[in-house]
Symmetry: D2
Subunit: 366 residues, 4 copies
């Protein structure tokens, strides 16, 4: 009988199965049944995902842009959840702990981890939803759990918490810290997507005098203004450089943050950075860019790239708790976790939908 | 009578005239009679040049590469001499003081000078032998003399002193300081010309573990070895990148210093810099380079450019005095000042002549 | 005739005389007639003082605590005014410019100035109202005017401007910068007088998580709360250390700022600074303190002292202009300049009068 | 039968017993039989000690100065050895590996470890020979072995290696790094014992212009000269301060390193540090010192304390390997491990014996 069979299936699923968003090669992906992850290493934890989200990088993966992602991979590297089980080496977390999942996995023992460059951990780095299964699922296995999970404080807004997995530390570390934003600085951020807006929010921790936000999408620029931009520039007319120079007395900005990942946006950055300034690249680039050293060789310029190391996550958690940062404002759409396909549609057409971050919440209670 | 006339001419020259190396447009230059410089501003000094040298940049000027240099300009931005006269605002120097001339002129009052970024001084920067007459002459006018001259200590080797005008601070500030060389680091320097060798010498002030020198010229690589390079690579076979990676266990170097100014040498640098490393550009570039952000965006790279600010000149003078730096080793050829045309020939064919720095000494006694 | 004589006197005063607050030895001072300052050096400017204020240091001088201040000295090192005349070497300012007078005089040429340590300028430093006549007068001579004056922007609140002479850069440089306040830090400031409150205001430029203000005066602690303190402690019960430790989970604060200058307040600081923390001394001390190295030798502590260098004045001016800092809130009392004796009474009994900064305004229109 | 019994005892010892230097309260200690350490935690390793040494701190313990050391404790926190066994969580080391034992134990997971302040690890720090049994024994248990041991390179001199446990990183981190020694600096080190000499050797990695060594013991000052001091001062005449000021043109030194731990030596340091200078305390103090803030409050001084974090150990190992540091020169006396009582006698009368570091080598072959 059909009913009986599905009862058995449901029962089995409740013990060893789950549903997950699986990548099946360029353009192909589905929310489907999948075996539930198990502890593989004594430092692992299994986390029941209570909420997750989609990153721009996930869209790149779906296009087939990332060779490291193989078919059959569960996507996702952001989220919050509840610890389900832990390996014998996990000492900080236990079953039942509410946690923020960090997008970066760190062994802490390798040479890069010793230098706090967790992004390049010899055994970790960004592997979740990339070289191992990720968080867009009912359960996820987290290697080196002690160092890749953070306690989710009871008083922390849930939607804000999700931004702490990746987007907020990325904007802060790669944009603001690398850009060395200081009180009184003029800052320009090219790209008002979730990462650019994260840079905008976290830059204000250092009280720059000016933050100019540049994008093609007026909706996003409006959001930028509500989040503290002191000026916004719609770059669709091609005059962004001239306008930034005008706003800065011809000198350019102390800090230019590239938060898109394309040659055109990088070009704006090299056109607006002042002598002695910093150009902090945050965007994920798929192509080389033309660096105008013939103009820049004598400009005392510092250009940086970085994958987020998540070393500032504890501080950012505290800053959100204290109300100094309000990243929940980046959440524009909400879905149940099993509506993830619909969420991808919405996020994939972000401009049309006015989408920034989409929240996917498990139907299971916390 | 001819004799009488030339006597008069000589007498006049002895008071108001001099000889100088004058640029007359691309490819044209001559050692010729010129009026002697006069004080134009109360902060000026007139210096009688006792020794000078030729920079690679002077060769660029002769080719017509620098639009800022107009016809009729006396070239040269390096040298030592004796103060002949000073304006009323000059308080540190007086007639008769032996001095090192800095290639950079600084007013100290503008916003850039206040930040110790003298290279971008609103009224100065690199102007000598560029937008005002330079040091390849019997006399030179030095604006903002108090801040653009340094006392030449009696115990300082004269040939060493000349290297303190430009070459040594350039290698140190743009290469070593910007590259943040630290004890234990691995460093690679692409280009074993005078600037690259200056970076090599001054990098050793920070005790890196390895300094790999890369060039096409085996003669220069031999010099590099004698000056402290721990490994040298002749890059003419196109395998420099592979060989550096092999020497660094596949990781690349902590610091890559570009001391040539060409796309090919810049490419070596981006190919050899380790994750978390620094790429310090020193070379003067005439063309843009292709920056491989598609590979480097997640490498935690810091890329810097800089025109020398000469803020470290006093420290470098002390380091030469104490014997920790021996820049006189860069002097390979010596001429009288009035043989400057011959000196240009020698320096212009540096590889063939094994030339690094050519010393031009005035026949007048010090 | 009496009238005629005083007419003459008034006329003479109007040309060569003025009134000023003159120190005549411990406990003795008067607002009295004095000759008007003249240009003595080509780098001088004469400034007509439009508003000034009194510093805690002035009270120390009146007690005879500062051996450097001789009898007959005009006091005062803060204020704003209008340039009356300039020497031939002054290039940035001209007659009629509205200016902020910096408490520190800098020649820019000496070794300390070259390191941006203007406070120890070989020819300047804090000399105004100390070794040369100061600003509590109708006119004041400012040496090295180009580097010791700042343009007073038209849109800047006058009372806010006065705080930029000394109090705001002192709290910021000696307290906040030396304390290396960072986002997320816990900070405690001992002393809620004008300097401590300046540290409180400027610390917020770096978004610390907690700022605990400690003082004996509840009125000042109330002001501290209105200016952003997250907690206040009345230390009169002798339990300040325990209470700070309780507020910081037993760890102590990342940054302890001493803004009083007494052994007892320094002791609180050494008792509350966390392992790895910074203790920034701002207070002017008249006696040695007992440093508990037997407890602190292994605590990875950084203790700093500093006289303000005023290198951040341009940034602070911009921060006030942009509304990020509101130092005018420190002004509690207002007097005419010729009421300075009354102002000293009020400020000398600050606690009883609830006084922070007293503003002394010239009757002459701006 | 006696022989038979001791045979059994020897056999038993060979499996579960060992000899060790045990502290039995102030003034009482003995080389005696002790049970052999066992793995207690999965992150532990047991190391067979092949060589160890005695630290000045051990002498303090024997006097009863350290309340944390209880009776029955095996002393010693330095040494090299061979891994005998490892717990299940140890992933970097295996039985048979030759290792350097770090004096500091680090869990890597706590808040202090995350900041690279291993000295204050919540579960570790300096515990060896302090709160847990130490290295002056045939075997020692090392907690968090992966992060508290370092591979001993085959080409590394054994006596040099022992200096890497504590003495060399202590002089470097607490003295040189905290003192921010830079090329061209003038440095004074008060105390020419093993730690002071370690600071002397490692300071040279940064090429200071002058290193002045101050001590009461002319023998140690001679060693200092052979190790690179540019000047030495016998402070027994009480004129050390005057002499340092004379050697520095009246300015004092950029960096003063206190490597003794007494009020008198700290006083020398505060008397000789230049305005803008750094005073790096390395010495272990038993009493408070009088800090002359009445003279120092306006001197822009930075005073630091620190327990070694051993974060630079990998770099120092490399520097020794490359020949840039030669710490084996600190070894003056050699004993067999079971002669440790004699070694304590020699080291306890260091001045009379001309002792710096005494090497204790196990009779067992490596």
């Amino acid at each position: 009988m059909k009913t009986a069979q599905s009862d058995v299936a449901a029962m089995e699923k409740s013990v060893t199965g789950m549903d997950a968003l699986v990548y099946h090669g360029p353009g192909k992906y589905a929310w489907e049944a999948h075996s539930r992850p198990k502890l593989q290493d004594p430092a692992d934890a299994i986390v029941r995902v209570t909420a997750t989200t989609i990153c721009g990088t996930d869209l790149h993966i779906l296009k087939g842009d990332l060779a490291t992602v193989s078919e059959g991979r569960i996507l996702g590297h952001e989220g919050i959840g509840v610890v389900e089980s832990v390996g014998t080496e996990v000492s900080l977390f236990s079953k039942g702990d509410k946690v923020i999942i960090s997008c970066v996995t760190a062994c802490l023992k390798c040479d890069f981890c010793r230098k706090r460059m967790y992004s390049h951990c010899r055994k970790g780095g960004w592997i979740l939803g990339n070289t191992i299964d990720g968080t867009q699922a009912e359960y996820v296995r987290i290697p080196y759990a002690d160092t890749s999970l953070y306690f989710l404080p009871a008083d922390l807004d849930e939607e804000a918490s999700i931004m702490l997995s990746d987007i907020l530390p990325t904007g802060f570390e790669c944009g603001v810290l690398n850009g060395q934003v200081k009180p009184g600085d003029s800052v320009a951020i090219v790209g008002a997507g979730p990462v650019g807006l994260s840079a905008l929010m976290t830059a204000q921790l250092y009280s720059p005098a000016k933050i100019i936000m540049i994008d093609l999408d007026d909706g996003r620029l409006q959001v930028a203004q509500s989040l503290g931009a002191t000026a916004v520039i719609d770059s669709s007319d091609g005059n962004a450089i001239e306008r930034v120079l005008k706003l800065t007395g011809g000198n350019g900005v102390d800090v230019a943050i590239e938060a898109v990942g394309m040659p055109a946006t990088f070009d704006i950055c090299q056109g607006i950075v002042a002598a002695g300034g910093r150009l902090a690249n945050v965007g994920v680039h798929g192509k080389p860019v033309l660096l105008h050293l013939e103009r820049l060789w004598d400009r005392n310029l510092t250009l940086t790239t970085r994958l987020v190391d998540t070393v500032t996550t504890p501080m950012l958690i505290a800053a959100v708790q204290s109300g100094k940062l309000k990243p929940a404002k980046l959440a524009t759409h909400r879905f149940d976790l099993d509506e993830v396909m619909k969420a991808y549609d919405t996020f994939g057409n972000a401009a049309r939908n006015g989408a920034l971050k989409v929240i996917l919440r498990s139907r299971a209670t916390f």
